[in-house]
Structure formats: structure tokens, C-alpha cells
């Protein structure tokens, strides 16, 4: 168990040029978090989390601030000693190892680049700390900087680099030590929105190329959606759902997940009847809809329906149907190719998302209908904690 985590091959050596990107890299390492619990005094920050990250996969830890995602990441990194639970890499526990011996590379939210060292010195730091021969250090620093397309900036101090460039150097520094696991702690939080998407793609590309297993902590659902192979949505120290981003979006496990990942319109109602595999639900806003749900509900049970903005559509105020309900359009905003409608139905506020055709409709009375193709999530009403 002395050296459980070093990659057998010198990945960087094989990818000296950006052209050598293409084929998927060797299989990475598997990371397991097993029943991890962390407490700060009385408060439980992480409450018995068990998660697995498959080799070469990016897992996003997504959740609001204070949900325990960063604590979990720091536990994996070895900065925090958990009260209970184990961290395993390739099945071997690493809890007894200090951060530097875990084979974990970290990109910090602030990047934590050493301000008194040049980009190259920053990248070389971990290699020198491992006592690698000088020639190898030089070669690998060059390769790592090339991999993040920062070859021309080796001599610059972090202060002379832009935020995006700093992030690339931080990534190169983390990758240069050939980590088994790459931890990314809100790596895009300090960047302009416009830069983010480019860098997200870039990091994903590099991660793929190195085949490194990665954990990404973020509170930004878009970031998690675009980066992660799977995401774990956390709340109050617990994991509410772990799934591929599309699954999380389409089939949220809880109302919280439905609300946190993507926008969710919450409609309360009661199960009127069971119709085969589907349920007929009488919504409080005054409509009756037929829905499929994997969950079982009793007739008469109060339920909560979480509909995505694209699950709903505007109808003419005069077109009364049972599955639509009356509402008032307050405003429509064009958002690129789409239109976002802000609608109120009684006390319920709704957001609708439609493709834009011509002029936006004028504010006033409308009806809102659930699209027949839509598969909104249905929860027992009590779940809405």
C-alpha cells in the first residue's frame, strides 16, 4: 500500500504535442467514498456519504453552499479527517496517507498558485517535491504547460496572467504529478461567464486525454451538466441523487433536486384516479392532467408536480380545455432562440420556455397547458421539505 496511486505509465511523456490528443487515454483509477461522515463541533457537514467514481469518469458534486460538497472533496484530498467512513482508490483505503501521498491533484477555487514563482516553477513544484531528476522535471513541465496551451507563458508570474491562464497553469500543476484522482474545487467560479464554457470544454478534453478520474465541486448546475459524466446532488450533508446529468434533469429523485437542477415549476394537486399505469391528477390551479410516474400513489393522495419550463405551453385565453388552466402573462422575454414567459396562475408563479416565432405575445389573460409529451416528475406532497 506504499504507493497505491502512481500511474504506471508517464502519461505526459506520451502526449508531448497537442496533436497527440485524439484517442482516449488509459483507464484511470477508481475512487470510492464509503460512509463518510464529517462533523464540525455540533454540526454535521457530511452525513454518511457513499459514492463511487468510475475510472476516467468526471463526477460532479453539486449543491448549494453549505451542503457539504467542499468538505467531502477536502476529505478525499486528505485535508480533513472524517469521523467515520473510508476513502478508497482502486479498492485500497488511503485514509492514513497525508495529502501529498494520496496521488491526488487539486485545482483550487482561488487556483492557489504560488505568487512568487513563475508558471513553470509552479508546475515543477510537485515534481521537485517528489525528488524527480532535474531533466525529467524540465521535460514534464514543458509537456504539462503544452497540454494546457500555456507554453509561451512559462516564465510569467501568476500576477501577470489572466484568470483563465492562471486556471490553466493550476490545472497543469495538478496534472504534472500524474495524479490518480483530479479534484476540481469550483474551478470556474472566479472566471467570466464568457470564458467558462471554453475552459470547461478544455478541461474536459484534457481530462479525457489523460484518462484521469475527476471530482468536480460546483454550485453551478450548468457547469455540472456540461462537465460531468455523472452528478451527485447534495443537500445538508447527504447525497439526494447520483445519476447522469440528463437523468437527473429528466427524472429528479426529489423535489429539491428538481428545483436545484434546472428550473422547476411546482404545482400542487391531488390524485383523482388511476388510469392503467398513469395517474389522473387534479391540480390546485384548476386543471386535470394525466401523468406517468414510477412511484406508487394512492387515490386521494396530495402530490407535488414539478414541471420544467419546456413542459408547459401557452394557450389562447379562450381555448378552454380540461388539461389547461387560466393564468395571466406578465411579460415575455426573448432569450436567444427562445422565449421565456413569466406567468401567474393565482398565487402560483410559473416560468415557461418556448421556441420563439415572430413577435412575443402581449401580456394579459392566457391559459397554460401541460404538453402531452412532457414527463414532469411527481412526488408525494410531504417530500417538499
Amino acid at each position: 500500500m506504499a504507493r497505491p496511486l502512481q500511474n504506471s505509465a508517464h502519461m505526459l511523456d506520451r502526449t508531448d504535442t497537442p496533436a497527440a490528443l485524439a484517442p482516449a487515454a488509459p483507464a484511470g483509477h477508481r475512487l470510492d467514498m464509503d460512509g463518510i461522515r464529517v462533523r464540525y463541533g455540533q454540526a454535521t457537514a457530511v452525513d454518511g456519504v457513499t459514492l463511487s467514481v468510475e475510472p476516467g469518469e468526471i463526477l460532479a458534486l453539486l449543491g448549494p453552499s453549505g451542503c457539504g460538497k467542499t468538505t467531502l472533496l477536502r476529505t478525499v484530498a486528505g485535508f480533513i479527517r472524517p469521523e467515520a467512513g473510508r476513502v478508497l482508490v482502486d479498492g485500497a483505503p488511503i485514509g492514513h496517507l497525508p495529502p501529498g501521498k494520496r496521488g491526488v491533484g487539486i485545482v483550487f477555487q482561488s487556483y492557489a498558485l504560488f505568487p512568487h514563482m513563475s508558471a513553470a516553477e509552479n508546475v515543477a513544484y510537485g515534481l521537485e517535491a517528489r525528488g524527480r531528476p532535474k531533466a525529467e522535471v524540465i521535460r514534464r513541465v514543458e509537456a504539462a504547460l503544452a497540454a494546457v496551451r500555456m507554453e509561451g507563458f512559462a516564465a510569467r508570474r501568476p500576477r501577470a496572467l489572466s484568470g483563465g491562464q492562471q486556471q490553466r497553469v493550476a490545472l497543469a500543476r495538478a496534472l504534472a504529478i500524474e495524479p490518480a484522482i483530479l479534484l476540481l474545487d469550483e474551478p470556474f467560479a472566479a472566471l467570466d461567464r464568457a470564458l467558462r464554457l471554453d475552459l470547461q470544454l478544455e478541461i474536459k478534453r484534457i481530462q479525457r486525454r489523460f484518462g484521469v478520474t475527476a471530482v468536480l465541486v460546483t454550485h453551478d448546475q450548468d457547469e455540472a451538466m456540461s462537465m460531468a459524466d455523472r452528478m451527485a446532488v447534495m443537500r445538508g450533508g447527504r447525497v439526494e441523487q447520483v445519476d447522469a446529468p440528463a437523468t437527473v434533469y429528466d427524472s429528479p429523485a426529489t423535489p429539491f433536486v428538481a428545483g436545484f437542477v434546472g428550473t422547476s415549476n411546482r404545482l400542487h394537486g391531488r390524485v383523482e384516479a388511476r388510469e392503467g399505469a398513469d395517474y389522473r391528477v387534479r391540480l390546485d390551479v384548476g386543471a386535470s392532467v394525466i401523468l406517468a410516474s414510477p412511484r406508487g400513489f394512492a387515490v386521494g393522495e396530495r402530490v407535488l408536480l414539478c414541471a420544467r419550463p419546456e413542459h408547459l405551453a401557452l394557450r389562447d385565453a379562450t381555448a378552454e380545455t380540461p388539461e389547461s388552466w387560466p393564468a395571466r402573462l406578465r411579460i415575455s422575454l426573448p432569450l436567444g432562440p427562445a422565449l421565456v414567459h413569466d406567468v401567474e396562475a393565482g398565487a402560483t408563479e410559473l416560468k415557461l420556455h418556448e421556441a420563439r416565432h415572430g413577435q412575443p405575445p402581449a401580456p394579459g389573460p392566457v391559459r397554460v397547458a401541460l404538453l402531452p409529451t412532457a414527463r414532469p416528475a411527481l412526488f408525494p406532497a410531504g417530500d417538499d421539505a
Binding site: 483550487f108 482561488s110 513544484y125 517535491a129
Partner: protein
């Protein structure tokens, strides 16, 4: 001050006037000492009847001022050891305090700074009483420790300010990259807090060099200290070499200050 409204001018003028007075008060006495050191008179006298460099010549005369040179050597050595020792201890304490958010850190910081408010004369007497009780005759080591007690709080203040500005993520980053604590300290922490350490060391050095009360009790025949020797010379004979020595001290300290300022922005740091 171009954007001042007319109504603000009297207040601005008042502030400016007081600031000018403050500069005069700060610099005036030092100028008087420097001017006095060039006097042609036989004793310390202001205003000097004429100007000459003879007291500097006499001060540097290896025979006639041998005792001053020896005392200066002692003082410089003690001040150097004091600066190194107190700054090293203060750096450790400052890092510990900066890294801990716990309540004890605040308390400890207060305790560490306590010697600042202790009258030196009382501490000198107490230290001598204590060491005699332990049957330890005054020695170089005790003298340095005594000075270090007075100097450490000065160092702690400046190093503490630097250490507080140290991003903890840098330390974690270094640890996660596989660096040992010692390597992290040497390669990351020390370079980053170096300006604070240098400023703290400078302050500790100066405070030791100028210390009278502790030296009075803890120095011995072998550790004749410069300020005490100058004190005796001034009191009994108004020896002008005292002013010349002071002139040299100010010049050397000032030079050192400028050099260190160039290197680490010392002047700016001392304000932090």
C-alpha cells in the same frame, strides 16, 4: 487636493499645517543631534559654535575609542542574536495564530504581546532577581533572552500581519503536491512572509540595540553594551563622541532601512 470645495479649505489647511508640524517634531530632534555631532566645542553643545568632523575621527580612532568599539561590537552581536532568535520564535507563533481560528489564538496573541506594556526597568529587575535565584550569573545567553522577550512582540506584530495575509489554500496546495511541511515552509511560506519577517527582524534589531533597562541589569563586564556606555559618557562628561556615535547609528540604520526597503518594501511593511 484639487477637488476641494471652498468650504473645505480651512479644514484642509489645518490638517496640512498640523501634518507639517508633525514632520518637524519627528525630524527636528534628529537633526539637532546630527548637527551637534559636528560641533567644534569640547562638550555636547547646541547650537554648535562651528562645524568639524573631529568627533567622528575620534570616534573611529581605534585606540582612544576602543571601549566604544567593543561595546558597539557587543551591542551589534547581541542585537543580531536577539533579532534572529526573537524573529524565529515570533514567526512560529505568528503562523500558529494565523492558521488557527480557535479562541486560544486570540488569547495567545494577547499574551505574546504583553511584554510591550511592561516597563522595561521592572522586567530587568525581575529577570535579574529570577536568574540569581536560579544561581545563573549574568551571561551573554541570558542577556539575549532578556532582549528577545522585549523584541519578540515587535517582530510578532509585523510577521503576524504578513502571516494573516497568507492564503491557506497555498499551504494545502503545496501539501497536496507532495511537499513536506518543511519544504512547504521553506519554498512557499517563508518567501511569502519574508517581507514581514525582515521588517520584524529589523524592528527587533533596533529595539535590542537601543535597550537600556534590560541591559542595565543583565549585562556584565564582558557584555558592556553601547547605549549604557554612551549613557555614562553623556552623563558625566557630555562627550561629543556620544552624538557622533548616534549620528553613525542613525546613518547605518537608515542605510540598512533603505537597502531593505529596496529589497522587501520594508518601509511600507513596517506600517503593517
Amino acid at each position: 487636493m484639487h477637488r476641494l470645495a471652498p468650504a473645505d479649505r480651512p479644514l484642509a489647511l489645518l490638517i496640512l499645517a498640523l501634518a507639517v508640524i508633525a514632520l518637524l517634531v519627528l525630524v527636528g530632534p534628529v537633526l539637532i543631534v546630527l548637527l551637534t555631532s559636528f560641533t567644534t566645542s569640547q562638550a555636547l553643545r547646541f547650537p554648535p559654535p562651528g562645524l568639524t568632523l573631529r568627533w567622528y575621527a575620534e570616534l573611529f580612532d581605534p585606540v582612544r575609542s576602543a571601549q566604544i568599539h567593543k561595546a558597539a561590537g557587543n551591542s551589534l552581536l547581541v542585537a543580531f542574536c536577539t533579532a534572529v532568535l526573537s524573529t524565529a520564535m515570533a514567526t512560529g507563533a505568528a503562523l500558529a495564530i494565523a492558521r488557527s481560528r480557535a479562541g486560544w489564538a486570540r488569547l495567545a496573541e494577547g499574551a505574546f504581546l504583553a511584554p510591550l506594556v511592561l516597563p522595561g526597568i521592572a522586567f530587568g529587575l525581575a529577570a535579574l532577581m529570577f536568574f540569581s535565584w536560579l544561581r545563573q550569573p549574568p551571561s551573554f545567553a541570558l542577556l539575549v533572552m532578556g532582549h528577545a522577550m522585549i523584541a519578540a512582540p515587535f517582530a510578532l506584530r509585523t510577521v503576524g500581519a504578513s502571516a494573516a495575509g497568507l492564503d491557506p489554500a497555498l499551504l494545502e496546495s503545496s501539501a497536496s503536491l507532495g511537499a513536506s511541511p518543511w519544504r512547504t515552509f521553506r519554498r512557499v511560506v517563508l518567501p511569502l512572509i519574508m517581507p514581514g519577517v525582515a521588517s520584524g527582524g529589523f524592528l527587533a534589531f533596533i529595539s535590542s540595540l537601543d535597550n537600556v533597562p534590560v541591559s542595565l541589569f543583565l549585562s556584565s563586564a564582558e557584555t558592556d553594551m553601547l547605549p549604557i556606555r554612551l549613557w555614562g559618557m553623556m552623563e558625566t562628561s557630555l562627550d561629543v563622541r556620544v552624538a557622533a556615535a548616534s549620528g553613525v547609528l542613525v546613518a547605518v540604520a537608515f542605510l540598512l532601512l533603505l537597502l531593505m526597503d529596496r529589497a522587501v518594501g520594508l518601509v511600507r511593511r513596517m506600517a503593517g
